[in-house]
Symmetry: C2
Subunit: 397 residues, 2 copies
């Protein structure tokens, strides 16, 4: 059998939580709180004119290969955009990636040998878990609470790893409106994280997919904005603030790291799609990304409120959930003995409602059986209460 010849990593990789999720979304009857997808209603109508402009005026460029690091003007635009968020960078220090997950994939290529340790949050983004697992990393989870990663536990972990003589290569964190918890890292913890990362010499990978979608409270500084020692790689994406279908993100770091990243980008896919890059650039320059962020944030606030109200009304007494200040997610802990993995099949098949079960966000794929992630971005507002009610019925069953 040819499959006997699989690599060690291929023998280990057995499932794709995300691919399964993506498949679920094909049933139109389903009320889905599963995938972290923007509501297509948020794409502004102006995108039509932008696309037509690009294809009519720049067809030759849009359909041809672009430079491996990305379209130069888009990199400059992002440098300016990140500058407004407090990150001092230059276009030359930004690599355009095919979504932020490719950014993480490139980080893995750069730093991970099999068995290398990586610290991630507990719970954390399931796509990141699967990408890191593909590189045969040993994942160590540090718990979060409503102030984000518990950095005092991180410090203890680093200290004990140091004593053991096996330091981690990376600390992967989603400081803003974390996936799946919805929690945001406090300012004090941000400073402390940056301090101990520099102290122990461990690189921080900041995934900021949701940071610009804040409902309430003050914007906190990005980790990369606090980074004076080049210890942070900042990953971003157009997927939540504009369009996931264009598959565009970015990797911003110190020059030496970006240069190496470009070498690996070439081997991944040569360059990201040029048409999409030109559309994103034009959409951004016309102020439409900012406008879409406004539209999305308003809509997300309404959906979040509807979700929290329905949870209050229908969920089993004693259940708890997080109160996100932005982003797409709330993270619920169900009272009683619940197995959210088993319940998911019943939910989807019988009740036509979907979510993501807690264990998907833990590296042991077992913890968090009484937890679940609810993504409120995708369902229509008037479906939310119906969906949560159905879900409560599943949990009672």
């Amino acid at each position: 059998m040819i499959t006997d010849q699989y690599s060690a990593r291929a023998k280990k990789v057995q499932r794709s939580e995300l691919a399964a999720l993506f498949k679920l979304t094909e049933n139109p009857e389903l009320i889905s709180f599963s995938g972290g997808f923007p509501d297509p209603d948020w794409y502004l109508d102006e995108v039509k004119a932008v696309t037509e402009k690009i294809i009519n005026e720049r067809k030759g460029i849009a359909l041809s290969y672009g430079p491996t690091p990305g379209v130069t003007d888009l990199r400059e635009y992002l440098a300016e955009r990140l500058g407004r968020q407090g990150i001092k960078t230059r276009g030359a220090d930004i690599l355009i990636t095919s979504g932020s997950l490719q950014g993480l994939d490139i980080v893995c290529r750069m730093f991970l040998d099999p068995g290398d340790r990586v610290i991630v949050e507990a719970p954390t983004y399931l796509g990141a878990i699967s990408t890191l697992e593909n590189f045969e990393a040993e994942l160590v989870q540090v718990p979060i609470d409503d102030q984000g990663m518990r950095t005092e536990l991180l410090a203890e972990t680093l200290e004990s790893m140091k004593k053991e003589g096996r330091m981690p290569k990376l600390i992967y964190t989603i400081p803003n409106f974390q996936n799946p918890s919805g929690c945001t890292m406090s300012l004090a913890r941000r400073h402390y994280l940056i301090k101990i990362a520099a102290q122990y010499g461990v690189l921080v990978v900041e995934d900021n997919a949701y940071g610009e979608l804040r409902f309430t409270g003050e914007q906190l500084p990005l980790l990369k904005a606090l980074d004076e020692d080049g210890m942070v790689i900042h990953l971003g994406t157009f997927s939540k603030v504009f369009s996931p279908g264009l598959r565009l993100g970015w990797f911003a770091a110190s020059s030496v790291l970006v240069e190496k990243a470009i070498l690996f980008k070439q081997g991944c896919d040569q360059c990201s799609n040029t048409l999409g890059q030109l559309i994103a650039l034009e959409y951004g320059r016309q102020g439409l990304i900012d406008k879409q962020i406004e539209v999305s944030t308003k809509a997300l606030i309404v959906k979040k409120e509807a979700t929290l109200a329905a949870l209050e009304k229908y969920f089993p007494a004693g259940s708890t959930w997080t109160l996100p200040e932005g982003g797409f997610y709330t993270w619920a802990t169900v009272a009683g003995h619940t197995d959210t993995v088993k319940a998911l099949n019943i939910a989807v098949e019988k009740y036509k409602v979907a979510y993501v079960a807690g264990p998907s966000f833990y590296t042991d794929h077992v913890s968090g059986a009484n937890k679940l992630r609810l993504c409120f971005s995708q369902p229509k507002v008037d479906q939310i209460a119906v969906g949560i009610k159905r879900l409560a019925q599943v949990l009672q069953e």
Copy 2:
């Protein structure tokens, strides 16, 4: 230094031939025979209407995530298209990739552990060399001649590897209008390759980027069309027959391999860009890919003739070059003691003409110093003689 923490692969990866090439193309004065880029003149004007149709009628889908394996209708379309080329397959056995190089990257993820052997042609596609090197493969080159890979030498190599007890995991080949040689594998060798691959149990990766761009002679069966034992992974791309800027290719293989490939695709970039997939599907369905192939092939024949005539006229006596039956390339061997690597700098800086030096296509990065690849797809017809004349001057210098 954080760079001390690089992975073993990152410490080895020092350059990107392709990225350097892509950069060269930015000087408009340059006559470039370097990158294997389609001429933007070939993109049919109809692409504007196609793009407008997609963004106007299907904005919500085009800008959203698609299924990880690719847009279902596009996979079906490709199954039908490959069927016309003699490959019996189904949409379900095709994975859409972000260019064919990502297809190879996924093959590597599936099969390669560090130190695993891979057989490639000598010379072979430099992008494939760099992707394979990223996986720390041990590359073994088997020479080609004007009938393609010398399969009798392949058989010897396999036999001696078998005796050694270290079989290769993959045989990577470009049977049609090979990159960089322009040569095409004969029918007899195709049959023999498939036979010995099955006999020794080694997977064949067929890269067919150029196969539909035939100038003369009969279409030969694809390796995948001859494959009865599921020993061939067929990689294709829209980059040479439609648009490289959309970054779309495909991976067609037996179901079990495609299922595993989808798991890795998810970790690469979740899915390929949806807007591009819908444009390619519509462009294909309207018969425009076939029309563009006709346009490109006609143009390529004229450019090829101009290139060969100019080589005859200007190149040093005793030099030789291949006579491609299709595709983008001819491969020249320069008479006398020439170092095409050293000459390249002079060519680009002083004479404003570019090519790719022979050693880029050898895994030792040293062989082939008297050889060079000329890609005739990109320069305008009236620039070809000028460019080759300049190049001949460089070689005399």
